[in-house]
Amino acid sequence: MAATQAGKRGRTGRFAPYALVLPGWVWLALFFVAPIASVVSMSLMTGSLGAGYSFTFEVGNYTRALGLYWEQILRSLLYGGLATLLCIAIGYPVAYWIAFKGGAYKTTYLLLVLLPFFVSFVLRTISWGFILSDNGVILGALKGLGVLPADFGVLNSATAVVFGLAYNFLPFMVLPIYAVLERMDHRVVEAAHDLYAGRVQAFVRVVLPMSLPGVFAGVIMVFIPTSADYVTATVLGGTGNTMIGKVIQTQYLVNNAYPLAAAITFVLMAVLLIGIFSYAKALGTEQVMEVQAR
């Protein structure tokens, strides 16, 4: 299949492709590549809001950024990683069940998974804050029944943050896994069932390896936004749960410490992008993007 597709794509056109991509190129160059470049340049400036900032190749911004905020960076990667694992643990069985057992209602189930996301991300997160309150609808009721001790709390903790992140990004895991499972040739699965007697064996030897591209795409789609998110941690987190995104936001919009903020931004971007590029290189960018496209 791949060969014939490549053949189709090989059509020649001297100017047509450039005419087509030019507007998109210009937009991405002006508003994606150039801004990234200006973060780099800004991160090497010195000055103050009043006097202005000038480019002095001040590498000190980076040492300060790392010295002050390494903890938040690591924490963000940790929370993002945990949320990603949680998304796999929750999203894979759901995608699997819908794809193989959903029957005629597959589409309905998938839509049910997506429907909550018609409600604003900010609003959903804030709602969680109210629901998880110490004496709120859930904990209050359970405490009333004596199931939980009176001083039990979830809100403002790392647990609340990680679950909140997983909640907000779950569809990005379910969709790519579902897309791969759904396109799987069911005869192969049946053959596997015949070949390896146990369901577990058939799953581990055949279905799981074939669905891995979906998982890989899901990991990218979940890990990056969760580790850079700060809304969830701001609403559901407490003391010691601040994530690096919040620091960047504060330094830019509250303290106007632009060079330091730019340095932190670049560090975060570098950490994430280098990780992702090596990850995508190992798996093939095209493949990951194709799964995303479905």
Partner: protein, 386 residues
Amino acid sequence: MLGLSTMTAAGLALSACGVEGQGGESATAEGFWDGKESNGRLTFANWPLYMDPDKPELKAFTEETGIKVDYDEAIQDNPSFFGKIQPMLAQSEPIGYDLMVLTNGIELNKLMELNYLAPLDHAKLPNFAEHAADIYKNTSYDPGNRYTIPYASGITGIAYNPEYVDREITSIKDLWDTAFKDKVGMFADPQELANFGLFYNGVKPADSTERDWIDAADALQEQRDKGLVRRYYSQDYIQPLSNGDIWMSMAWSGDIFQQNAEQGTNLQFVVPEEGATLWSDNMMIPFTAKNPVDALMLMDFFYDPEIAAGLTEYINYITPVPKSREVLRDKAAKASGEDKEWLERVIDSPLVYPTDEDYEKLHNYVPITSNNEEKFAPLFLSVSQS
């Protein structure tokens, strides 16, 4: 990785630009007001719930002067409002508002330092001269009220919920008491947080030195390390305090008054014995305002005791016009039922009209400018944001 190096190269090319200085030119009062006249309208940016939704005071103003007022609840907090208007002011562009209200603090200091505010013409502020209490004239952050006059003031103190706290809270030390583990709320704002750390160490914020700041940050870090602080709140502490997520918190006086009055809660507000801070939300005119004369007239109008009384009745924060209390007393004498009850509640509340004893315990903020901010803010941000 080719992409990255291209970007870096492009970045270096861009770097020649730099970011221009953001300051404007300093103006004198005479120079600024020369040739400026009333245009019959103005736009007013204020905080949510800072005026009766029916805007009776603005209607009265329009009736008296013929000037129309567009009222916009555009300000949610100082830093983000500053962040929004700063780029426009830096380019000497109008920000869409002729009158705005900001709290004394880093942002206000920056606005003054960068010459973003219109110098006030006190000849046109007769009500202010006559009716403002002395403590609101000649404030430490704006000597001689060159740029600002207060709209309303409040106290940052301690609030606690007696449903959960079974003893009387009187001291800042109580916020460090491990009996309240994970049940204490502190403010995320570096200045507010710093003040409490300084009071804990027995230092007055206005006189504090860099050494004091470091000690204060250490004390706050210790409080954090003991696991006392549930969260560092921006402004949304009232709800958790009412429903028991936290038992005591740094708090603003008017919030507590309103919550008790509206929701029937019994939150207690204390001015701790070590001291507390008095802050003001100040009215000011951006130097690019299109209708500065109208804005100035409205500023003065708010100092008419009748008008100040009306505002106070709704806002429940401290008014800079003491005479308004008499007006409210007269009104209460004529009123009956619920209205009377409410008015008396306002008149008698030490949260709206603090006692002299309380006033003595109130202090000013640490004077922060963009010069020492770098030494100050990170100390406290590293407590609240790590």
